[in-house]
Symmetry: C2
Subunit: 300 residues, 2 copies
């Protein structure tokens, strides 16, 4: 059996009781270590907590050597640990499909991920549209496909969760050309870098999918003891120091309910200014007034 | 301190280790028992597992008597348990705002919810738009505001998670008029009832936000040992018996990646027919062909 086990967001104790019990009976335990990191626990902390060796699985192993991970899975129990929940990344879907082909049963043990825990900022999950990924811009590669997706969400009034790039175990290209494999230190995109990139793309495209004054929420170290939120405009957050990683950003849509706003104000430095920014932003993508309601029509 | 603790989806052991440790040190433990249920554990199972009394908190208690829940929270530790994750329902946001007013600190211990665990069906979470609630139709109340939201999602190619109504501790109105409080037995909306209601609304409105042939996924008992998925068209699922509750439904959008489809086919009775339905449905809301790409433009 292959067990896919979500680890949650931060502590080694964020694993579920069922997840922990399952690890204890597995003959091999892999930790997927390239799409996210557990914020307050190292590999050694996990090994101590589980009483088991943990094998780090990098991208190459998961994508090219999945048969090694799945070896003997027809008769042995294997744990594949994923930070957050199990199905955050497409590579895990791939692994399940490969297991099926080999006749290996698969069970998932779910946990929190940023996709649902972000509700802690006070914005309602059902007011979110599609989530988008923001990758580090390089000199020659400044992908902006996120722009159209944010616009799609904002046109229908929805909030957007921006998932920020992390680079773990990236090879150094110069060294690689010399035939040596040297890894770069890990990099985690900050709130300010994300917001700078967003501002750059808006400046270039100028279609006002959002503006420098669009209200956003900086989400720092979600689920960890030092979790914090900051509600401010996009341009303010481009200069905001959100501290240690991991970070995410939420860009608000027009549909901000009073309860959501009341909750967010707690995280604003200048409550009046933030409220004003929210009201002003609601003028974008305003729908036409609704047609007169027919008598026999019902609506919740 | 008020601890909001997610219980996950099914087993008493789906709670996190940190959640369980926290419960053990709290002086009072409330279980929110009206927006969802834990599928394979009763209140008594939880009490045995926690070694603590668990107080059921119905809607009335949470919405009108929150000060009772929060009593002495400035000095005592209080646990408020929520099935799934913590911020699934607006009422919990309310409780946090009230706690803040009373000067009570609040900490959340997150867990899986249907909002992220639904990724287990093979559809990628970042291809989902806004989630919608489907409530039981009554003779005089057949709310269809979900229709416009599904249409908004499908217009931009996104999948929609449909959260199905549950009715727990609903008073019987006839008895109430006689001055007696008698509660109805709990009701959980089934996949087939949901799909019938969707078909009725499409028939009435006829705007083709979706059709009887739109591909969907029935999600049964997500996260429980008897979890199952069925991939079929909307009209097929209107006649599908998804078994014991809880159920959800995902309606597909046009953006179905090959990997998503490959994963889903495992859950289709007639794989060729389902694939054909997906291809046919992709003709709805097809975007115009993209403009020619300028040389200096980059895109991921």
């Amino acid at each position: 059996m292959l067990y896919l086990i979500g680890l949650g967001l931060s502590h080694e104790t964020d694993i579920t009781v069922r997840g922990l019990e399952t690890i204890k009976k597995c003959s091999r335990v892999y930790l997927e270590a390239y799409t996210s990191i557990l914020m307050t626990a190292s590999k050694e902390d996990l090994e101590k907590f589980y009483g088991k060796e943990v094998i780090l699985a990098d991208r190459e192993m998961v994508e090219s050597k999945s048969d090694e991970i799945l070896h003997n899975g027809q008769t042995e129990d294997i744990a594949f640990l994923v930070v957050g929940d199990v199905f955050g990344a497409t590579t895990h879907t791939d692994l399940v499909i490969r297991a099926r082909e080999l006749g290996i049963k698969v069970e998932s043990i779910h946990n929190a991920s940023v996709m649902n825990a972000v509700g802690a900022c006070g914005l309602q999950l059902y007011n979110f549209g599609q989530a988008v990924s923001i990758v580090f811009f390089t000199e020659n590669w400044r992908p902006d496909s996120f722009y159209a997706k944010i616009e799609e969400n904002r046109k229908i009034g929805l909030h957007t969760l921006l998932l920020l790039d992390i680079k773990v175990k990236e090879p150094n290209f110069k060294e690689m050309m010399r035939g040596r494999i040297v890894y770069e230190p890990p990099r985690y995109m900050s709130v300010s870098t994300c917001c700078e990139q967003l501002l750059e793309v808006e400046e270039k495209r100028g279609e006002k999918a959002y503006t420098p004054n669009t209200p956003c929420v900086a989400v720092s170290r979600l689920g960890s003891p030092s979790q914090s939120f900051k509600a401010a405009t996009l341009k303010e957050l481009a200069e905001y120091d959100a501290g240690e990683p991991l970070h995410s950003v939420v860009m608000l849509g027009r549909q901000v309910h009073d309860l959501e706003l009341e909750y967010l104000l707690e995280f604003a430095d200048d409550k009046e200014a933030f409220k004003k920014a929210v009201r002003a932003d609601q003028e974008y993508f305003k729908p036409p007034p609704p047609p007169p309601v027919e008598e026999e029509e019902f609506s919740d």
